[in-house]
Symmetry: D2
């Protein structure tokens, strides 16, 4: 259950009162609310601390549910606001490779209309024998690109030990699909002080995705963006199966922004633009897409990164589509 109280003092008092009944309780300040949280099936009645509202949901996820918070939550990435009704585009290379590559891409995507720059410095790789990322050196190149272009930057965090440099350099932290149920990392991101782009695991249900977001929120961080990036299915024609149904569902049942990654499900740049448009038409608030100055020579994901020309085409089509859908 969620107990909305009037101020921090009441929150702390209520948490103690609930715990004195033997029921676990958490206190969080999120989205302008003072909230005491108990497990969804716990029943606590006859409390003395004044409460403004009590929310009882049928779902296991609570804080992120749109059922009690009807207004959509905006998330600030650097100085750019991602919110319902607006198109937000994050673009950049799969991996940070060289200064030239990053700066060239950053300038290009900025001019083409991107809102933020993405780039991987710590890379989760299936094989230990493939390029694992430049590490902190990569973060510094991203920071330089931000300095030159003004674009906020987003990058993936894999190891809790890398939290300090990532938080230092990045405006938003990406949590990769393979770590969506790394509960240790989720809890730590709850205290990171940076918004989190929470990619859905390719083997995870929508409810598990929401519950991963719930972990982050329950540990204090309300800046969460849900990212659909395709799931594993029996069909291997494309790399993953983009689940636009998950986007439609997430927009109706969570109050967080939802964006889509068309690059990973496509696995081939020929299919990225139609998937990107499908993501937006399903109701997403934005895109995160891979762009590279010379994709065929990229150090990772060479087949799926867009060329600059393709990115220009994508932005133009996405903007027209967004207008038709009533977005700015």
């Amino acid at each position: 259950m969620l107990f909305i109280v009037g101020n921090r003092e009441d929150g702390k008092a209520l948490k103690e009162e609930v715990e004195s009944r033997g029921v676990p309780a958490w206190y969080v300040e999120l989205w302008g609310n003072y909230i005491v949280v108990t497990p969804p099936h716990a029943r606590v009645e006859g409390l003395k601390t004044p409460v403004k509202a009590v929310v009882e949901l049928k779902t296991e996820y609570q804080l992120v549910a749109r059922e009690w918070k009807r207004d959509p939550t905006p998330v600030l990435i650097g100085d750019k606001e991602m919110r319902e009704g607006r198109l937000f585009i994050i673009a950049g290379p799969c991996s940070v490779e060289t200064e030239e590559q990053v700066l060239k891409t950053a300038h290009f995507v900025k001019n083409a209309g991107a809102d933020a720059l993405r780039g991987g410095a710590f890379k989760p790789r299936t094989s230990p024998y493939t390029f694992q990322g430049l590490g902190e050196a990569g973060l510094k190149l991203l920071a330089k690109a931000r300095e030159e272009t003004g674009l906020p930057i987003t990058t993936e965090l894999m190891d809790p030990e890398d939290m300090p440099p990532v938080v230092k350099y990045a405006d938003a932290v990406q949590l990769g699909a393979r770590n969506m149920q790394n509960f240790t990392l989720l809890k730590k991101l709850g205290r990171a002080g940076r918004p989190v782009l929470l990619k859905r695991g390719f083997g995870n249900t929508i409810e598990e995705w929401f519950l991963a977001a719930e972990y982050i929120a329950l540990h204090g961080n309300g800046g969460i963006v849900l990212v659909e990036r395709g799931i594993r299915t029996f069909d291997k024609t494309l790399r993953f199966t983009l689940d636009v149904g998950a986007i439609a569902y997430a927009k109706q049942h969570a109050h967080l922004p939802v964006i889509g990654d068309p690059s990973h499900p496509a696995g081939d740049r020929r299919y990225v633009i139609p998937l990107a448009l499908a993501i937006l038409a399903a109701g997403a608030d934005g895109l995160i897409v891979e762009v590279h100055p010379d994709p065929d020579r990229a150090w990772s994901d060479a087949k799926q990164q867009l060329t600059f020309d393709q990115f220009t085409e994508l932005v133009q089509k996405a903007r027209e589509l967004a207008r038709a859908l009533g977005k700015s």
Copy 2:
């Protein structure tokens, strides 16, 4: 391989010549071409019959491949043309139930902008204990609706024995997902003289879908529409996982029209409109959608059929989206 020849006589002659070499061959007239077909990996050289063009593909599917026929194939349903660059909407109830229900729906969807009316008279049902359809009586109600509204009608065929009445009444024949690899039926539809809406099986790959189309084409019928309607995956939040990647892929690799069914993957009318828009944004040429005057009382698929108001909203949004995508 495909051998494009100049006329029917050359076609028949070439088929004989190829067969005399011990290689199986078929002769078909499709999309304005005279074509002799051999299995994809067969090699036949030094033929005497004059040939205009030889097509050698790396895929197992041949006739339906866009690689040799770059111009998109239009399909005529009644007097309405489904083709690339235009939005085609087929709408109507899951099952034909009563005269009033069918006529009311037909008039409504006609006025709202539908191009054709759908309705099931022979219903494939998982359980033998659920409503199996009105049979030929249902077909007659559909025919009456066509008479009154001028809308062409589409309906599902399940049993080869029902081919005569279905072909008599319907402008296009739907082949259901569970029958996509009913090769007997595919061959018979190749000689049906009616266009076929070929639904993708929920457990079938894109290649298998193309090969099912190839069966129909190889048996003489070029009027094939590919219909994506969702696949089975581990996530059961929605009824099926709509595979927009399959739509994007099919548009690039087959020359046939591709449409999407948002009703079955949604499984719940709340998600039908965003899925429908995603289908179009991914590149589809149209929609087939379930609409019912009083969905909660429908005899089948009660949860997923759209109300009239929702259908009106869908058509309006679909038209705006289509315009933004450059379609008429």
Copy 3:
């Protein structure tokens, strides 16, 4: 609901009585019982016709449920009985190719300990360009093999039109995975007068498999064998994912014999023996396995058919395992 009555007259009378209340009813004689069946959720009370027992189940499937018929149902294939507690092995080539191939295989598997011979005459093929089977000529070769070896034969039926020859020659009819929800064919097999080997569709749930069996039983045929043959999943290392959980579940919830096909999920003969043993250890009553005198030159499924030596090894290991599991 199931109403068990004392004789045929009562059955016919009860069916009429139930229908007079506006509830659909079927009358079947199965497994020594006279049964009137109504849809699972229909409630009919205060009936006058004498009834021995009323069965009300929570499942959609009724006739095949073990919940009301605790004793396992044996199925007679030719003169061989498949039943719980005994190991039944069906073996033979994927496709019937030549007289020599069929006879050689039949003699070999007979001597090695097989209970029945399998062989495909009508082949469901994904591509129209691959070998489609010898048809009735293939059936005649199978019949000859039966004559020479005494082994009962099983073969697949695809087209309802082929029912007469298949029923004439075969001791049991196989329904292929792609036709598991071909409801037309299921109904016809209900009246075929031959036991049916009902393969689970690779995209179908266990409940759908049981309901396909229910179609056959409800149309009068109680000789049904459930065959698990692997499902489609994201992992493509082997051809399909053998679902031993489905075998364990089917043995507990249906009273029909359950066997497994290790050849199709393996897709490669190196994995057939361990999969076959896993099938038996999960509780199956037998195996259906592909064997060929010279698999590498087989006209279909070349990689997965066992050599004669491997089949001998399989039978020996399967018999030892069966003994350890308390089977004869």
Copy 4:
């Protein structure tokens, strides 16, 4: 490539020589071998350092491949050896709850024939609102159970920060399915000095499972046990789909021990025994199974934990099966 050299000095020298050519190289001592490893597709020729053998594989995984190391690798858990040809049973509760619960279970499974005790102290839970484990207090209870019974203990590690206590108390470390691609943790387990039970992720392919093992081996730890525990598929009748094909494949293509977890795929204790037997029949070297003194009151996984009586039955059947399969 793998370069097998004669001693540590040659190993270090060769690593340097290879790196001087600009090719990444690792040096590991594993399974009695001195090995220099390069990425699978790197080609290095004309080396001066003496080399005993060069292994060039077509797979991305190298160290764990059975292709070069035909003899199966045994793994020592405490003083018990897990190895091919022997049945190894790990049993115990899902979560460590109380001293009484752990000790009672430990004594029981010891007497019933278990080789090691499992128990979760740090629990990965989908929801933040469910029991997260006793933490280090739980480890101490496990250690006490070991003291009393002599059984080695295995427990899951989730957070790299918990490595010191886990390594201090546990004889083997379990890596959970959700962390199979937590590459940070994999690398750290490579230096843990304890054998690792590597559970396959429910959304991961067999190749990814092998590559996760490769991460651990490449970072120095050769004590790796592959654990199949079911994958996510469209069928939800049981909790997961146990993939016995993966066991058969892993036994042929990796030299590591392979065991199976029947509890998680079953999700219900009624199906655990048949799944356990199928695991063994497919070729696995052992089982890891959940047992609880009073499963219905367990704090987690209540439905799937075996009762003591069921565990006794399982061990007896497993031993008979193992004997039939030629195992001790």
